[in-house]
Symmetry: C2
Subunit: 344 residues, 2 copies
C-alpha cells in the first residue's frame, strides 16, 4: 500500500483529466467524486478509475467536451441526454435539476441516457440530502457481472440503489449499495491485495462457491444480495435505471461503450409532509434511539452512512491507502500526459 494525501491525489487527478481536455471545473468535479469514494472507504470507486476513464477517453467512449442536454422537461421531471460526456457531469446535472425541481414542486423525477460511468451513486444522494431533500437513486450498470437469483452466469451489472435522507447535521442517512452481495470493484481490490474473498460473494465458471478473487475474472459471476429480495431490487434498478430512461440494458451482449450507467433519481421535499425541520428532528430521534440499542456480543450498531463518515475522518487525517498497482498506473498515466508526480 502507498498512502497518498487526499489533496495530492485530488490535484494530480484533476490535472490528469485536464491534460486530456476536460475543463478545470469538470475535472475538479469528476476527481472530487472519485477521491470522495476513496475517502469514504469505497476504493472500488476511487482513484482506481483515473486510468480506466483515461482509457475510455482515448478510445472515444467518453467525450470530454460534450455537454448533457435536457431533451424533455415538465415542471417536475427532466429527461437528459448525457451525450457521452463524463458520467459525473451528467449525474451532477441530473442531481441539481432533481433537487431544484423538488424544492419548487415538492417532488421530482429525472432520468438520463447516453451516460458514462458516474462513480459512486451515494455521492449524489448524499449531496441532495444535504440540500434538504430525500433522494432515491436507481442505476443500471451496463456490464454484466451478477447472476439473477437461481440463474447461471453474468446477467446484469451490479445495479446499485441509494437513498439519501436529511438529518439534523451535515451527515445524511445514506443507504448506498450494489444489489450484488458486493460491488465488482471490491473483487478488483481483493485481487490487487491478493486477498481471499468470502464464499457467498461469487461463483466460479462452473457455478461453484469460491474464495479466489480471480475466479470471478475467469468466467465466474457475482450473486445478488439477500436471495430473491436483493434480486428483485437488482431488476428494479435495471427497469428504472435502464429501461425507463432508454439506456442500454446490462443483459444486452452488444453494449458499446463499456460500463455505461442508466440513471434515475426521484427527489422529495419534506415540506409537502411534516416539513423539513420536523423531519430532521424525527430522523435524528430514530437514529439516536437505534444507536442506543444493545448490540449483539462483539457487534456494533452502525447507521447507514456512518462507516463512511468514520473512514473519511480517518483518511482525511492519515491519507488514502492505495494498492501499489493502482498508484503505479496513476504515475505511469501522469507520465504519459507530461505530468511529473513529484510536482504534486
Amino acid at each position: 500500500m502507498i498512502v497518498v494525501p487526499p489533496e495530492r491525489l485530488h490535484k494530480l487527478g484533476r490535472d490528469i483529466f485536464k491534460a486530456q481536455g476536460l475543463s478545470h471545473e469538470k475535472a475538479e468535479f469528476l476527481v472530487e467524486t472519485l477521491v470522495e469514494a476513496n475517502l469514504t472507504g469505497h476504493d472500488s470507486h476511487g482513484a482506481y478509475y483515473f486510468a480506466t476513464y483515461s482509457e475510455r477517453i482515448k478510445e472515444g467512449h467518453i467525450n470530454v467536451n460534450a455537454e448533457p442536454v435536457v431533451v424533455h422537461e415538465t415542471p417536475s421531471t427532466a429527461y437528459i441526454d448525457g451525450k457521452y460526456a463524463p458520467g459525473q457531469i451528467t449525474a451532477k446535472m441530473l442531481t441539481e435539476v432533481a433537487v431544484a425541481k423538488a424544492k419548487e414542486h415538492m417532488v421530482s423525477a429525472v432520468g438520463a441516457f447516453n451516460c458514462n460511468h458516474i462513480g459512486r451513486i451515494g455521492y449524489y444522494t448524499n449531496w441532495a440530502a444535504k440540500q434538504g431533500v430525500v433522494a432515491l437513486f436507481f442505476a443500471n450498470v451496463g456490464t454484466p457481472a451478477v447472476a439473477v437469483y437461481g440463474g447461471v452466469g453474468k446477467t446484469f451489472g451490479t445495479n446499485p440503489v441509494s437513498v439519501g435522507i436529511p438529518t439534523g447535521d451535515a451527515k445524511p442517512f445514506l443507504m448506498d449499495y450494489a444489489t450484488s452481495v458486493v460491488a465488482a470493484g471490491k473483487i478488483s481490490v481483493a485481487r490487487a491485495k491478493q486477498a481471499k474473498i468470502p464464499l457467498h460473494w461469487t461463483r466460479d465458471k462452473d457455478g461453484k462457491p469460491t474464495d479466489d478473487p480471480f475466479a470471478y475474472k475467469d468466467g465466474g459471476w457475482l450473486l445478488p444480495f439477500g436471495e430473491y429480495k436483493g434480486y428483485a431490487l437488482q431488476l428494479v434498478s435495471e427497469l428504472l435505471g435502464a429501461v425507463l430512461t432508454g439506456s442500454k440494458v446490462g443483459i444486452d451482449p452488444d453494449r458499446v461503450p463499456p460500463s455505461t450507467n442508466g440513471i434515475f433519481m426521484i427527489a422529495v421535499d419534506p415540506g409537502a409532509f411534516v416539513g423539513l425541520e420536523t423531519f430532521r428532528e424525527g430522523v435524528d430521534d430514530v437514529i439516536g434511539r437505534v444507536k442506543e440499542l444493545k448490540a449483539e456480543p462483539g457487534k456494533r450498531i452502525m447507521i447507514p452512512g456512518e462507516p463512511e463518515w468514520e473512514t473519511k475522518d480517518s483518511r482525511l487525517a492519515e491519507g488514502i491507502p492505495l494498492p501499489e498497482e493502482t498508484w503505479e498506473e496513476i504515475v505511469s498515466l501522469a507520465g504519459e500526459l507530461g505530468l511529473r508526480v513529484e510536482d504534486y
Copy 2:
C-alpha cells in the same frame, strides 16, 4: 386445512365487516385486499385478519365510519390524515390520488398518517402499475418485531417495501416484501401449522438461532434480510413511512392503536421518459430474456410477482386453504355477528 372457495370467503368477509358498520363499498374493498392476499399465497395478510380487524373495531382502534381527508396538497403531492378509518380505505385513497397526480404531473408523492393496518402493500403498487405508472411504496409497521442489524431485541416492524412496474400484460412486475427475512404473519402461519421454521428467520429471547415458531412469541425477534443491506431498507421504510408522514415510529413503546402503518407512495408516469408503450416493451423484453436464462441445477428462475400469479391461478381454481384455527375464528366471529356460515 379447510379449503374455502374465494367467492365464499369474500362474501362472508364482506358481510362480517358490514355487520360491524362498514358501508357495502368499503367492506367490499377491504375484504377484496385480504382475499387477494390469500389468493396470491400471502396467507399472513389474508382472511387471518377478519378476526384481528374485528377485534380492533371492537376496541375502538378502527373507526368504521371515518373518512380520510387530504390535509395538505400541491399539484403533485398530497398529505392524508387517515382518521383511523380502516387502513385499506386510507391506502386506496393514497393510491388513487398518487396515480391521478402522476398521470397529470408525471410524478407524485403521497403520504398518510393516522392509518390503520392496510394489508399487503403489493396490492396497491400492483393496482397502480396496472394503471400504467411505476409505483414505489414504503410502509412502517407500528409493532416492533425485527431487530436492527447487529442489535438485540424487537425494534422496528416488518417495514415492507414494494415497487410495481407496468408490463405489456395485466401482470405487473411486482417487488413486494418485508425488510425482515420473512413477515411476522408467516411465523403465525407456521405456528398454526405446527411447522418448524428456517434458522435464519428469528432469534429466541436469548438471541440464539431457533427453528421453533413459538420462540418468536416468547420474547424472540425477527432479523432483517440481507444483513446490513436489508437493514438499511428497513430504516428507509421507517424514515419515509413513519417519520416523513408524521406517523408513529415502530420503536416507540407507547404506540396506540396497535399495528398502525405509516404509508408513503411515489408514482412516476413513464410518459416523462421513454413513454409508456416503449417502457412496457422494454420491461417485457428484459423479463423475457431473464426467463430464458439457464437456471442452477434444481432451481427455476421466477420474475418478482410470478409466484403470486401462479398461486392465484391455482387457488382461483381449487380454493383457498386456511388453517382450521383461522377458519374456526371466522366461523365464531360470524356467529357473534348473527351470520350463518352455512348461508355462504
